[in-house]
Amino acid sequence: MERKESRWGWLFIAPAFAHLLLFALAPILYAFGLSLFRTRLISPEREFAGVENYTFAVAEPSFQNALWNSARYALVSVPLGLIVALAVAILVNQKLKGITLFRTIYYIPAISSGVAIAMLWQYVYLPETGMINSLLGMLGLDNKKAFLDDVGSAMWAVAIMSVFTGLGPRMVLFLAGLVGIPQELYEAGALDGATGWRAFLKITLPMLIPTTFFVVVTSTISALQIFTPIYMMTKGGPEESTDVVGYHIYTEAWVNFNTGLASAKSFVLLVAIVAVSLVQFRMMKSQLKGYSAA
């Protein structure tokens, strides 16, 4: 009986599993193989290169610049996205009439096409006629700045956009975390005089640590993989100030056709993401330990 059931279990996961093997795992293995060769997409020839692509990649200034850009982007967009998502989650957790409407509205960007959103945000950032500059103009302030054309602001403009596009899923996670906090804790806290801000710091935040951890890890990973907004809005410019690793790898493979080198760079990105995640796990472990001891 049990065996029969497990056979059905295998059957049920088979399509998803086959898809994973065929379209995720197999290409990853193939890309690893490719990363050990000197190749060019338009030529059938390839030469074995060993780790040459890796040593070349990490020493290449433009790739280092891309790694730095990705790090900059993640360092800003992850904390900012986190804080905004938590704030919005707390707001939409209020028991108000029609609150589900707001929840839906805040979630909509998550199910919209990234390309369409990026196009709209290009208009938001236009000089003079863009949404932000129109508002600045109405206030009598300088409205000439082209946010996406300026070396100093382009990356932050993209990061701010990502706060809104990534809001939905993060908000839902925090909302679930908030709902999961037992009401008794607040009641007990209130008896001890912990209300309002104090209750938030001493009860809400600590109880949200596991959720926060999950949100931090997943949004860091997606921040390090960002591609669509860069492709749509800046093409890595101005002066490669928004040339993040994802976009850099894309141009290496599909504009320069250096597929071996591009694969090697993908694996450098993989190692970087794993390393960052490991550090985050380590930090969170110590956090949780301190929390349970208290």
């Binding site: 338009i42 433009s62 006629t129």
Partner: protein, 428 residues
């Protein structure tokens, strides 16, 4: 369980029966532009495909539209690598080196020699040469366009400025632009799209590469090119006879088509937009074809030159029915087909007879003296020239948008191009 299999088998055999019992030869044609393209040109093209099928009942044409040039090139190369190349590829000169060098295309010379009806001499030979390598010919050209200077005669008349003449100089151009600049009107509008400004470099005596196409340092960052960029910057920053890039972007419209700029650089395709220009408050279009004049770009060398962009049809080596594919190309590049397509105004025809016929139109006639000054784009010789375009555009952006020094910006771009070229991993 068995019944379920039985049903499945039945369903499969049914679906097999329901396929078209079509025994026509299928030729697959890769083309840019999506299937939902509603333009006049796309409609006329579809009409011609149908006409071809009517006249060749043994052939079925399947169009594989790939939207956007950025997707077209990688997709075709992937199709080639995986053995799924279509029979016919539409070739864009700006990326043709990749296709020709990759060995995916068939040499058409024997097909041309065999065919009594087809005459290569019907075409402009310098256009045919784009896809010629020694004796081999890899594509038959459809049409092409030089990049030219358009001017708005109505705005010139209103300011009492005489029309520009072929052979004019940078300084004459600058003065003309100044005279045409007034409130809500610019003399010229510049777009930072490298394929649209490379000929400014040539016309001031500069270039992009060393003659062996191996090195940009010493060429892209030459003193002549620095001067050219400074010249364009002066027009924007000091003369204010051209809008800044962000002012042009903020306008949200093509300033020339909107009657707010007296001159602009574009290809023949520009006319498609100008013939459908936005309407003013009086209900009349802000610019009409009757307002347009066409002139060469200014030059300081005494030898005016411009870049041309071209498209042609090629047959791939893997084509299963090269003869059917050849019949298709012959039909599409025939006098009658080209006359239909050329009327859409998108380009100058590669056929001399069609261009001469169209040259009876005074506006079209203005293109004819420019044709001998046409130079093929570097994409016909350098694989993946898009990389160079990006770097040159970045340099121009950093000068015009972020106030960098032109010489430093060009040096940086040239060095970067050299290192990217050196990186190309497998040499042919």
């Amino acid at each position: 369980m068995r019944r379920w299999f039985g049903l499945l088998a039945m369903a499969l055999s049914l679906s097999a029966c329901s396929t078209d019992p079509d025994e026509r030869i299928v030729i697959r044609v890769a083309n840019w532009g999506g299937a939902d393209d509603e333009s006049d040109f796309a409609a006329k093209q579809r009409g011609l495909y149908e006409e071809f099928e009517k006249r060749n009942p043994d052939i079925k044409v399947v169009i594989e539209g790939i939207p956007g040039p950025g997707e077209y090139v990688p997709k075709m190369i992937l199709a080639h690598n995986s053995g799924a190349t279509p029979d016919i590829a539409t070739l864009d000169a700006s990326s043709s080196a990749l296709f020709i060098n990759s060995g995916m295309l068939m040499d058409l010379a024997t097909l041309i020699d065999k065919d009594q009806e087809f005459k290569l001499n019907d075409f402009y030979l310098n256009i045919v040469d784009i896809a010629r390598r020694g004796d081999a010919i890899y594509a038959i050209p459809n049409d092409f366009t030089p990049m030219v200077m358009y001017y708005n005669k109505r705005l010139f008349d209103a300011s009492g400025v005489s029309y520009p003449q072929n052979g004019w100089t940078f300084d004459q151009f600058r003065e003309t632009a100044k005279k045409l600049t007034k409130k809500d009107q610019y003399g010229f509008v510049f777009a930072n799209w490298f394929p649209g400004w490379i000929m400014w470099l040539w016309n001031n005596g500069g270039d992009v590469f060393s003659p062996d196409l191996k090195r940009a340092s010493g060429f892209l960052d030459s003193a002549e090119n620095v001067k050219t960029i400074e010249f364009l910057r002066t027009m924007i920053n000091d003369d204010k006879s051209a809008p800044s890039l962000s002012q042009a972007a903020a306008a949200g419209v093509d300033l020339f088509a909107n009657g707010q700029a007296a001159m602009t650089v574009s290809g023949h395709w520009g006319m498609v937009g100008y013939s459908a220009a936005p309407k003013g408050p009086d209900g009349k279009p802000k610019i009409t074809l009757a307002d347009l004049g066409v002139v060469m770009l200014p030059n300081n060398t005494g030898k005016p030159v411009t870049v041309m962009y071209e498209s042609g049809y090629a047959i791939t080596k893997r084509a299963k029915h090269p003869d059917a594919a050849w019949r298709f190309i012959k039909f599409m590049t025939s006098y009658e087909s080209r006359l239909v397509l050329n009327q859409t105004g998108i380009a100058v025809d590669a056929r001399k007879d069609v261009s001469t016929e169209r040259g009876k139109d005074p506006l079209e006639a203005m293109f004819l003296p420019i044709i001998p000054t046409c130079r093929p784009p570097y994409g016909t010789m350098v694989e993946g020239f898009e990389m160079v375009e990006t770097q040159a555009q970045n340099a121009m952006d950093s000068v015009l948008k972020n106030g960098r020094d032109p010489k430093a910006a060009l040096e940086k771009a040239a060095k970067r191009i050299d290192s990217e070229l050196a990186k190309r991993q497998v040499k042919r």
